[in-house]
Each structure stands twice: as structure tokens, then as C-alpha cells.
Symmetry: C2
Subunit: 321 residues, 2 copies
């Protein structure tokens, strides 16, 4: 069987995660990593991104690993004109616009783009769709964590007196249990999450002052149950450098007076590596759509689960159904 030829654009956490994930999926061939840096500075088969059109005929699917803030919006027209792509674009507010732009370009150029892969958007989105389809009379709840929040950690580090800071979001397990137990709940983002903050002080302010400023920070902490812990620099460097994340999607539905709960839970030691793994399976699906000449933009909603798998129909039915 011929392999699926992929390229990786960008070599940050996500791009490196894709390279790792490809090593567990031997139906792929990595044509190369495309970077804005000096390709020789990377310890992998790398080319300068300006040369990417030279590889147009060699690449079946390009996995876009740039950032959602600037890279994806600035380059999406170019890549979807010349390549079939998979991205992990996670700007939820812009996803519909993104879909429309890519759908039109890829249809015109006979390409496929699978957008918003990863776990949120991605796995969580699909589970929300499944669970509401199976339990239409019900409600869905999303809980994030336990995991490091990059945005909240950045906010904490802006506070005077903070040398290092990390913020973990934790799901409110008590609220999860109340939903599962069939109780009436008042679900809000604030009630559903707890924020744990680990701080190394630079000793220019009292711990109490720093804590007060953090827990009252609007948008980020005010209204949340927030715990602030002061720790040593050694402890911080030892225990707070990881990239773990996860969470739940929980749907509670009713048929007659019977309750059903549908819960998906992810616990990821490495958020970018799992995101990358979903992107790689999605690249397999993009290749299948391409073979079907089913062009256009897609999300995981449009992907038959079988397209993500290497198994044949017979194997799937025999082993998994």
C-alpha cells in the first residue's frame, strides 16, 4: 500500500507532536517540516517554508501547526489553494468564517481541508454532537481540567511581585456528581471550575497583597473559587513545567422519567501531543476524501469514524462492533 505523504508547517510544540505521532502511524511518510527558521537549525528533515510550492506534487496532505492567533488566518488562503490541509485552528468565534473561506477555495482547487481538529475543537465537539443526537431531551455541560491554562498563567505573571506563576483549571467534581446524580444544578462557567494558582514571589510585596490582586482580577479570577499557593523556585521548576490538560463533556438526558448520562473524559499529560495525534488521524481522513474526490472544507462532524482508522471494514466489524 502506498503511504500518505504529509508535510508539517511549523515546528513548535504542535509540529513536534505531529512528528512524534507520525512515528506511531506507519501508513504515513513525512516529506518534511517547513519552517520560517533556518532549516539547518532544526534536528529533523526541514525546509524553508518559502520553498514549499516546490513540494506541491509530493505532498498529499499538509498539517498546519502554526498558531491560531496570526499564522492560520494569515496563511489559510495560500495553503488551501495549493494543498489539502488539516489544521487545529481553535479560535471558536472565527471557525464558521474559516470554514466558509476554506470551503470555497478548496472546492475550486479540488482540495480538502479538515478544520478544527484536536480535542477542543475536535473530540469534544464530536461528542457534544453525538450525545445531543442520542439524548435530544437533555442538556450538555463542559468541564475543563485538570490542566495548565496558558492564558491564565500569563495573566498571573503580569501581577507585580510575581516571579513565576502557573494556573491550573480544575473541574468542579462536586458539580459533575450532582449532575450525574440527577440533581437540579445551576451550571455556570464559574461554578464549574476551580482555579489553582502556584506563585513564586520576588519578595517585593506581601503574599497577601499578591493573592488579593489575583483573586479579584476581573474576567480571569473574580467569581471563581481560586486558591493561591506560594512555593519556592525549585519546587516550581520541578513540578510546574508540564503541558497537561483535559476535561469532560457530560450530557444528561431523559426518556420518560429515565435518566441517561453520556460522559467523555480526557486526561492528557501532553495537550499538544494529543492534539497532534488527532490531527494525524484527520490527515488520514483528508486523504480518503481526496481519493473519493469529495472536495471542500470539513470538520470532524463530516468525517465517518472509519476514515480515521487504518482498519478495513471487515476488521472493524469483527474487532470493534
Amino acid at each position: 500500500m502506498s503511504k500518505i505523504n504529509v508535510g508539517i508547517v511549523g515546528y513548535g510544540n504542535l509540529g513536534q507532536g505531529v512528528e512524534t505521532s507520525l512515528s506511531y502511524n506507519d501508513d504515513f511518510n513525512l516529506v518534511g517540516v517547513f519552517t520560517r527558521r533556518d532549516p539547518k537549525s532544526l534536528n529533523t528533515k526541514a525546509y524553508h517554508v518559502d520553498d514549499i510550492l516546490d513540494f506541491k506534487e509530493d505532498i498529499d496532505v499538509l498539517i498546519l501547526c502554526g498558531g491560531s492567533k496570526n499564522d492560520i488566518p494569515e496563511t489559510r488562503e495560500f495553503y488551501s489553494t495549493h494543498f489539502s490541509t488539516v489544521d487545529c485552528y481553535d479560535n471558536h468565534k472565527d471557525l464558521l468564517n474559516h470554514y466558509k473561506i476554506l470551503d470555497s477555495i478548496t472546492k475550486e482547487n479540488e482540495n480538502v481541508s479538515i478544520i478544527g481538529t484536536g480535542w477542543d475543537p475536535g473530540v469534544f465537539s464530536v461528542q457534544k454532537l453525538y450525545s445531543e443526537s442520542f439524548l435530544p431531551n437533555g442538556e450538555s455541560y463542559t468541564f475543563y481540567g485538570p490542566g495548565l491554562s496558558q492564558g491564565h498563567s500569563d495573566a498571573v505573571r503580569q501581577v507585580n511581585g510575581v516571579k513565576y506563576g502557573a494556573q491550573y483549571t480544575l473541574p468542579n467534581d462536586h458539580l459533575v456528581k450532582e449532575i450525574e446524580d440527577g440533581k437540579e444544578v445551576n451550571y455556570t462557567k464559574e461554578a464549574a471550575h476551580i482555579r489553582d494558582v502556584y506563585i513564586v514571589s520576588d519578595n517585593t510585596r506581601t503574599d497577601e497583597d499578591i493573592k488579593e490582586e489575583i483573586i479579584n482580577m476581573p474576567d480571569y479570577f473574580k467569581g471563581y473559587e481560586t486558591n493561591v499557593y506560594f512555593i519556592s523556585e525549585d519546587e516550581f521548576k520541578e513540578n510546574h513545567q508540564n503541558l497537561n490538560h483535559g476535561g469532560y463533556v457530560l450530557r444528561r438526558g431523559f426518556t420518560n422519567n429515565n435518566q441517561a448520562t453520556y460522559k467523555i473524559e480526557l486526561n492528557l499529560d501532553s495537550n499538544p501531543e494529543f492534539t497532534a495525534s488527532v490531527a494525524v488521524a484527520s490527515a488520514r481522513a483528508a486523504y480518503r476524501f481526496l481519493k473519493d474526490k469529495n472536495f471542500g472544507a470539513k470538520s470532524l462532524f463530516d468525517v465517518p469514524p472509519s476514515y480515521l482508522s487504518r482498519r478495513t471494514t471487515e476488521e472493524m466489524i469483527q474487532s470493534l462492533l
Copy 2:
């Protein structure tokens, strides 16, 4: 929008569950229930199953709610010749054969059959496929319960001295936690499950004798952690008449040295009503395949999640992605 016209074959727990589920999905029109009993004896719009061909033009999708032991194998050729169907056939060992038979008949007759819907096979199967596709370097574990096992309850009732009996399968939560915590485990069906048995004695044997016979019953209980509780007839009738079930599918995978766990958990007060709800969403998908002229047998592996939903592409992206 014109509604999807469905018929229900069989009016046991599952068929009644389908009727209930349709009431939460107003894009369907129930043409009627088809039964082997006297249609007048049912408190619904019912016809005799022998008259079903009179409704061939009126029905888009037929939901087959007969038993997996005899009804489905005996009638599958007939129904898939004349109708597009959805079934909840759960004889895992025969599913591939079932698929092949139906695929050939439905392609010839321009019908669609979605097989093995429900939660196992069905939701659990799809989650096994997703999780192994996203975490190829890993292992999957299935845990059933807490829930009533019909087969084991029947076995218990065969024991001399047992007047009433109910057997609940419980997942071994300790083992689940060990897997999630990254420990080496020795997963076997026996280690993964605990069996709780509730007995009303007819007082012709000692409780100890009855218990010994149960816990040593080969295939059913021997090798399992089994707890036998003797209760009064009143308590049995009060607390042990329900149809709850559920379980977990858990995948633990690794990328580099990082662990990721993907866990889906179902807790169903009514096993047949949830199974029915999945069948109804699958009937929507069957109708979409029919409109696409994409004939043949399918499982949920082949169904784009969007086909199960009433939402438009734009709504899905905006609300769920």
C-alpha cells in the same frame, strides 16, 4: 421540511423505547407499529406484521426491534429486500456475516441498512474506533455496569431454592483507577467486573448452600468476585425491577513518555430506551444515505456524526465546534 416516515417492527421494550424516543425527535413521522400480536391489543397505531408490504411506499426507514436470537436472523433478508432498515442486532459473533448478507441485498434493492446500533454494539464500538485511531500506541479496556445482566439473572433463577434473583454487573473501579493512574494492570474480564446477586429464597435450602452453588457456577460466576445478598420478596419487588445499565470504554495511550486516557462512560436508567434513542438517530442517518443514493449496509463506523443530527452544517460549527 418533509418528515422522515418510519415504521417500528416489534413492540417489546425496544419497540416501545423507539416510540418514546420518536416523541423527542419531531422530524419523524411514525407510520405505525408492526406486530405479530393482535394489533387491536396494543395501545398505539398498530398493524399486523403480515400486512407490512402494503406500507412499502409509505415508509422511508424501518426500525427493527425484534430479538437478536431469532427474529433478526430469520427476517433480515425479507426486510432488507423491501425496506431501508436500522437494527440493534447484538450478536457480536454474527455481525460480520449479518453485514455481508445485508450489504449485498440492500445494494441490489437500492436500500440502506444501518446495523448494530445502540450502545454495545454502537456507541461503545465507535468510541473504541475513535480512541484507537487517536492513540494508536495504547490499549483499550471495556467495563460493563453498574447494570442488570439478563443472562446472569436467568442463570441465578435456575438454582434450586431461588424464588427471585437479579444479578448486577459492576465495573471494578479500582482497576479503572489503576489504568488511569498509569499502573501496569492485568486486565481480564473476570478482574474487571464484580457480580452482585440479590436473591429471594424459597426457604427449601440454606442460604449458605444457595450461595455456594452460585459463586461456583462455571462461566457465569466462577473466577469473579461475587457477592450474594439474601433479601425479602418485598424489597426485591421494590428495588430490583429496573432495566439500568452502562459502562466504560477506556483507552490508555502513550506519545513519547506522556500518557493520555480517553474514557467514555454511559449510565443508563433504561437500557432499552437509550438503545432505542441511538436507533432513532441512526434512522435519520439512514435517510440521509438514501437521499445520497449511497446504498448498502453500514455501521455507525460509516456514519458521519453530522448525519445523526438535525442541525445544519453552519449551526453545528457555530454551536458545537
